[in-house]
Amino acid sequence: MKRVYAKEDVCIGCRLCEIACVVEHSESKNAIRTYKTEVPRPVARNVVEERGPLTFSVNCRHCDEPLCVAVCIAGAMVKDEESGVVRHNEEKCVGCWSCVMICPYGVIKMKPAAKKVSKCDLCNGRTMPACVQACPNRAIVYEER
């Protein structure tokens, strides 16, 4: 399946990917409204790592054998058989953080106040995930590997 991969050699650390993710998962889908009025604001579902000049995004890989699905005690994580997308049902999530403990990429985000996690949904069938489209330097790509 097509997955989101990052290229650290050309990631410029602007974090527009995170903003695009937040806006895409907001109520309004409008950046200004999302940031100024939505409470709680969605969290970005990728992780941008920074260390000196090194920056890169880490994104959910929608694993073939997703450990987050295996460990979820609430049945909130499901791998969609057709699309391969690992989906998370926030309604069912109880915030046990088991998936946070197991995800080898560390890309399941905690929302401690809500006692829920948030994870990439590949923008629910969007032709190109928001983070990929927003990257100004092609440092995040969506492709088959």
Partner: protein, 507 residues
């Protein structure tokens, strides 16, 4: 602003932030390498230190909510035709530092731009125009010395060429990427330039920074440069490309050398330039072995020997008052190609006074060099490539009509990959990731994107050149070369028209 020398507050730009749109995402904070923007966590507020803004527009370009605008500082000094704000600010700065004013890119003073005072011809009724979408249109150019005459024998439908040709470099577009050293710009751009040159069938030039090992694969699209510092020059390097360019001078700073500060000499640049890490890379003003045309001839032939007479030798000079005579000497010294760099040519760093006050407009230098070589009957013995402020395809066409074989572009190439000509290349903090080797900033150029954009630029200009040629009823660039009949001047005086060798519009 508090704690600054008062005159720093006479800043050039204003950062206008629309608080109704700013979402405190801090993209501007991360993008500005001059630390103009800062985030105040306590108040969840992004603020700007206007005095640091160089007007590069990086923040504006990256702001996801269109909250930023960069304007010229609206604060006005009293009108004075002589003491304009620019001179005032320069004096304040020097009174503070006692130093030489530095700048980057090319001469930015309002000297005449002769490209804008020449108009091209087009066919009407007679000699009908040609549609390049329907009919072949030849842009290929061969660089290199042409024989004085071509001798053939045989005939009867089977002619044979008796004349042996000097090596020629075919280029598919009359546009080369001119010299920018690895060091002044980074490897990512070099990769982009090399790949674009390869894709488009043209050439790029290493500048005097040597050739990074990863770039040898683009040899057939490479001109390697040999300049006064001789950085990175060795046998493999000289033989790596299709030509060697001896750089005598540069349009942005004729008569002076170059200086890449030691802090920019990191491990890769050190390796490529063959100098120790952290040492200043000083290019002397002259070549210490060239004090005459005869000396130049020695170097030209030394390089031809070193490359087994397979590579062309270019000689590059800045356009100066007596370029025509010098060019004649260069041709006689054995140069295969004359590179002529006008006063608008860019640089990574130059003293402002030199950049803005020395040299000759390329249009005039080109016309006089071409004319002189023709008068002397040696125009065929070298190709002529001109550089310095070529902004668009029409400039290229006008240059060819004035007599150039091809043009060099560098500023335009950098603009293609994001440069906004803020003229702060010498700081090493280029926010567009171009004139910098800071690993955090250099990543901003993705070689893949740079390659595409540079190739697109050449492609686009190529289409336009074909359109203009077709409009003039020509189907080959060769038919335009030196064809000054296709140009007319507007608003030029008799002297200018004479030097350019063109008639006034209407004539």
């Amino acid at each position: 602003m508090l704690y600054y020398d008062q005159n720093k507050n006479y800043r050039d730009f204003e950062v206008l932030r629309d608080e109704n749109k700013c979402i405190q995402c801090q993209v501007c904070v991360r993008q500005c390498s001059y630390e103009v923007h800062t985030y105040d966590e306590k108040h969840d507020e992004v603020t700007a230190d206007q005095t640091k803004c160089v007007g590069c527009h990086r923040c504006e370009a990256f702001c996801p909510t269109d909250a930023l605008k960069i304007r010229k500082n609206q604060s006005e000094f009293r009108d004075n035709a002589l003491w304009t704000p620019q001179y005032l600010k320069n004096i304040y700065k020097q009174a503070d530092t006692g130093g030489v004013l530095l700048t980057g890119m090319g001469n930015s003073y309002p000297y005449p731009v002769y490209w804008d005072k020449m108009l091209l011809d087009a066919s009407q009724v007679t000699n009908p125009s040609i549609d390049p979408l329907r009919e072949p249109m030849e842009l290929r150019t061969y660089l290199g010395a042409k024989p004085d005459a071509v001798e053939v024998h045989g005939g009867n439908g089977h002619p044979r060429l008796d004349t042996s040709f000097a090596p020629q470099i075919p280029i598919e577009y009359p546009i080369l990427f001119s010299a920018m050293s690895y060091g002044s710009i980074n490897l990512n751009i070099h990769v982009g330039l090399a790949r674009a040159a390869e894709e488009m069938g043209t050439l790029y030039n290493t500048g005097e920074g040597g050739l990074h090992p990863t770039l040898y694969q683009y040899g057939k699209n490479t001109i390697v440069q040999c300049a006064s510092g001789r950085f990175g020059v060795h046998t493999d390097y000289l033989n790596a490309g299709v030509a060697v360019e001896i750089k005598i001078g540069q349009g942005a700073k004729p008569g002076i050398g170059g200086h890449l500060p030691g802090e920019k000499i990191g491990p890769e640049i050190s390796l490529t330039r063959m100098i120790p890490e952290g040492t200043d890379a000083l290019s002397p003003a002259p070549h210490h072995d060239i004090y005459s045309i005869e000396d130049l001839r020695q170097l030209i032939y030394a390089l031809k020997e070193a490359t087994d007479y397979k590579k062309l030798v270019f000689v590059k000079i800045a356009a100066v008052h007596n370029s025509a005579a010098i060019a004649s000497g260069m041709v006689r010294a054995g140069a295969d190609v004359i590179s002529l760099d006008g006063f608008r040519g860019g640089t990574g760093a130059a003293p402002t006074m030199i950049r803005d006050n020395v040299g000759v407009p390329i249009e005039l230098a080109l016309a006089s060099v071409d004319e002189r070589l023709r008068q002397e009957g040696i125009r065929n013995r070298a190709s002529l490539v001109v550089a310095g402020g070529i902004r668009c395809s029409a400039d290229v066409v006008k240059a060819i009509a004035l007599g150039a074989d091809a043009v060099y572009i560098a500023t335009a190439a950098l603009i293609a990959v994001g440069c906004t000509v803020c003229q702060r290349c010498y700081t090493g903090k280029c926010p567009w990731g171009i004139a910098t080797n800071d690993p955090y900033l250099a990543k901003r150029i993705n070689p893949e994107i740079a390659h595409e954009k540079l190739a697109n630029l050449i492609r686009g200009w190529g289409h336009e050149i074909q359109e203009m040629l077709g409009g003039m009823g020509l189907n080959a660039l060769e038919s335009l070369r030196g064809n000054r009949e296709k140009l007319r001047g507007v608003g030029l005086n008799e002297t200018e028209l004479n030097i350019l060798g063109i008639k006034h519009a209407g004539a």
